[in-house]
Symmetry: C2
DNA sequence: AACGTAAATGCGATCCATTCGCACCTGTCA
DNA sequence: TGACAGGTGCGAATGGATCGCATTTACGTT
């Protein structure tokens, strides 16, 4: 399930969820965030649109949306979880160990490989949780 | 860096770490654990060998050993981190969503692919954090 | 358009995995 | 064997995330 344009209201309905102003605010913030914010950051940004939203609701809504498949949770290490709208094209993530920046990696090929390996063991994949920590290679010092 | 047999004492020395009875106890427990235990579970098992070890030391030692590359931390979701001796052959993990069991997946090919993708973007991989949640396929219902 | 109900929310309290502060111990190397 | 950096135990603290509960709200039904 993917959200594009302003159809996230419809996406909420299809997921059997009530369309509340808090959810709409959160989703629209998430749509325009390309930096994989965490709950606290999302909370601050959402307050800019609607100062009635509580942090508890941000957490609850993110979990609800994750369960509905509208949102993806990134559990990196030693930092609060980050979130993104479920992307149309699946991708893994690369975390720059020096800057903390998160970069999206194309991963159709990896997914195929993962599926094959899992299938060989008699499993079907439910969800993928994969990232690498990496360092930019210095080309000319 | 990998630990085999009883050479973990030497491995500690090589890492510039003091060889304390707590560390030896923890490493030997970890060597004989194939089920990816978490800190609490490791604590209980280590107490069986040496009841002077504290939970704080288990956490500190695991972090120290991880930093030294002797131990690998698995951050699964919604549960405390699990640990394993750094395996000789790199592998990803599969978590059975029904049983919680952790299965090791061969992943040389995946690692090659990951390296290629990262290299193409000018990065060298520092560490890999990858697991899939999966469900056993029913063959005959 | 008002109603009834289940679902959502805000607030503050709470949980719990992990880390910290600090006084005391112990490897290690001279 | 003595000095000292590094390691440890204990209990307190931290901090991300969740919960309990009273109140509000969305939305299908009159």
């Amino acid at each position: 399930m993917t959200v594009e344009g302003k159809e996230f209201i419809q996406a909420l309905r299809e997921a059997g969820l009530k369309v509340t102003q808090q959810r709409v605010a959160l989703l629209s913030i998430l749509m325009e965030s390309t930096d994989h914010p965490n709950a606290e950051e999302i909370y601050v940004r959402v307050r800019g649109l609607d100062d009635s939203v509580s942090l508890a609701t941000v957490y609850r809504t993110l979990s609800t949306l994750e369960e509905a498949g509208l949102v993806q949770r990134l559990n990196l290490e030693n930092e609060p979880a980050r979130f993104e709208i479920t992307p149309a094209a699946a991708h893994d993530h690369l975390v720059d160990v020096d800057t903390g920046q998160v970069i999206e990696l194309p991963s159709e090929e990896m997914n195929r490989l993962r599926n094959d390996i899992a299938a060989k063991l008699g499993y079907e994949i439910v969800s993928i949780h994969s990232f690498v920590r990496a360092r930019k290679i210095k080309t000319s010092p």
